[in-house]
Symmetry: C2
Subunit: 315 residues, 2 copies
DNA sequence: CTGAAAGCGCTTACAG
DNA sequence: CTGAAAGCGCTTACAG
């Protein structure tokens, strides 16, 4: 091909704006430039921030993101994993559903040699790339804060029994009580089966009737805290003077409710960026074909956001 | 092939759980079973509900959804449309960015013979499938409600000048004033350039200083309403007695703020389902190859949610 | 260095 | 009705 011809061809390519067809190039390269994300919930502040981080970071490398929603259903999660494998995505990012306790579907991902990144809702028994916050430590901080505000009888609304994050936040709460020499009453821990205001309200009612001496509450979600506060107020308890409350996740509603809600901020956007970063690293390494693979993990820092619902001592 | 062999083959197929490779079958069928969605914003209650509807409906037909975010940028939107076309998605669902006022990129979609569904943020000049609410009518209802609550001097915080929805809500407001014989003061209409509480606060300050006689406010978003209310309260105005306020979109925060915020509920989930439904219809029709194509549209009903911020007359 | 050919995993049109 | 072959749009290994 003469340089002249070459120039003409290149010019033509630019002119018609030729772009290779990803679908076709897959057959040779075995790369789809697609990643799949499975979220347990879509109408969810925190997962949305993560999603935004994932989409933003993926785009920088010409990756597109398939978004699926398991609706907190284990069966759906399994099905969707297999759909994504069939799609031949280059990576799968998963936050596991609340009632997922078996992990064959995750092993299938590994068997297919597809990088798996677990985020936020991770499974400790599955070896994989992980991005999460240190829930235990964050819950410790939140409980410690209530103690420092003078609370002596601190209750906890936890999540379901299975999810690791729910266990860890509970353990952080318990550890803080022990650390500061406060008694742990197991009947002051309630389960919020679903993430809703109503659930928080309901638990608050049972709690207050059985243990009126409560003066502090740490809840696994902000919605539960909002529900609890609304019940406490109905019952004439002053927040934070009679009962100090702190939630978790720092949802958009936290600064808007009355009193404004203290919470633990998790940087979801950063978490999303990190998920993609570790995925790209794994992709590179997969070329080197190390055996056994080494899975990187990342802990995203979380921080206390103190607002009116727990602030008794002002300076 | 003997029936026996056939049975054995089918058995084997079931046994190894054979699934065709979508990527490869595309080459022949020219169908990717992928649709692309471009949202102007991801951390956004309403768009999230739409997204959930889209993902849910698409899944029932084995379609997967690529989610992109234009971040309200026209340039990004153009780029992402071309990415999706390169991906050979079977359909594109778009809610256009605030500052989009040229539509060559949408014409490119049509030229590529890819069904386009515009939702929520539609462009009236582009002929395509559309799913939206009747913004003008909804804004009329909201303003009418304030009038019925006895407001005489009603201000409006509108959106940017370009988006159709922003224009329509403004027109609905204006039409209601006219219909009920109230004067329209153009200096009582303010632009909320961004969807934030701060913006609402800021506009409320200017408004109250220039027109202290204001006794009603209709805002284009709930966040703007929340901001305005907080400023009014700081200034000692009682809500709704001195100033009645109604927002738009009925975000999750609306029932949680104090006073609870009246708003216009838009059923985002239903809108998402409808987007996919009209897309599937268009797919079927495209086989019939009608010329010129007829674009179906759907109007999703919206409804007033009256809460404390505007309710003066209780019965 | 260049260019033609093979092959990725399917589907479909066609020959037998 | 069955089965072999062609072809979708790329990339890559290879022959010239």
């Amino acid at each position: 091909m003469s340089p002249k011809t070459k120039a003409r061809v290149l010019e033509y390519v630019a002119q018609v704006n030729f772009k290779p067809n990803f679908q076709a190039s897959y057959l040779r390269t075995q790369k789809t430039k697609l990643v799949g994300v499975i979220l347990p919930d879509i109408n969810h502040d925190f997962f949305n921030k993560i999603l935004k981080g994932i989409i933003t970071a993926a785009e920088t490398q010409d990756y597109n993101v398939l978004v699926l929603c398991s609706n907190e259903s284990f069966e759906k999660e399994v099905e969707q994993i297999h759909d994504l494998l069939q799609r031949k995505v280059d990576g799968i990012f998963l936050s596991i559903a609340k009632n997922t306790y078996r992990y064959e579907h995750l092993e299938a991902i590994k068997a297919a040699n597809v990088p798996l990144v677990l985020f936020d809702r991770i499974a400790k028994v599955v070896n994989s790339i992980r991005v999460a916050i240190d829930d235990q430590q964050a819950a410790f901080m939140a409980t410690e804060h209530l103690i420092q505000q003078g609370c002596k009888n601190i209750a906890h609304f936890r999540g379901d029994l299975i999810p690791q994050m729910s266990i860890d936040r509970f353990l952080g709460y318990k550890r803080a009580l022990e650390h500061y020499g406060l008694p742990f009453h197991k009947e002051w821990t309630f389960i919020c089966a679903e993430n809703s205001i109503e659930n928080g309200k309901m638990n608050a009612e049972i709690l207050l009737k059985s243990a009126p001496e409560i003066d502090g509450l740490f809840t696994i979600t902000d919605l539960a805290a909002v529900g609890a506060i609304s019940y406490f107020k109905e019952q004439g308890r002053r927040i934070p003077k009679d009962i100090a409350v702190i939630g978790f996740s720092n949802w958009a509603i936290a600064p808007l409710v009355t009193p404004t809600l203290s919470s633990v901020e998790q940087n979801g956007y950063l978490m999303g960026l990190k998920v993609v970063e570790l995925f790209f690293k794994a992709l590179e390494k997969s070329n080197e074909n190390e055996e056994p693979p080494i899975y990187e993990s990342a802990i995203i820092p979380s921080q206390l956001i103190i607002r009116d619902s727990s602030l008794r001592i002002k300076n």
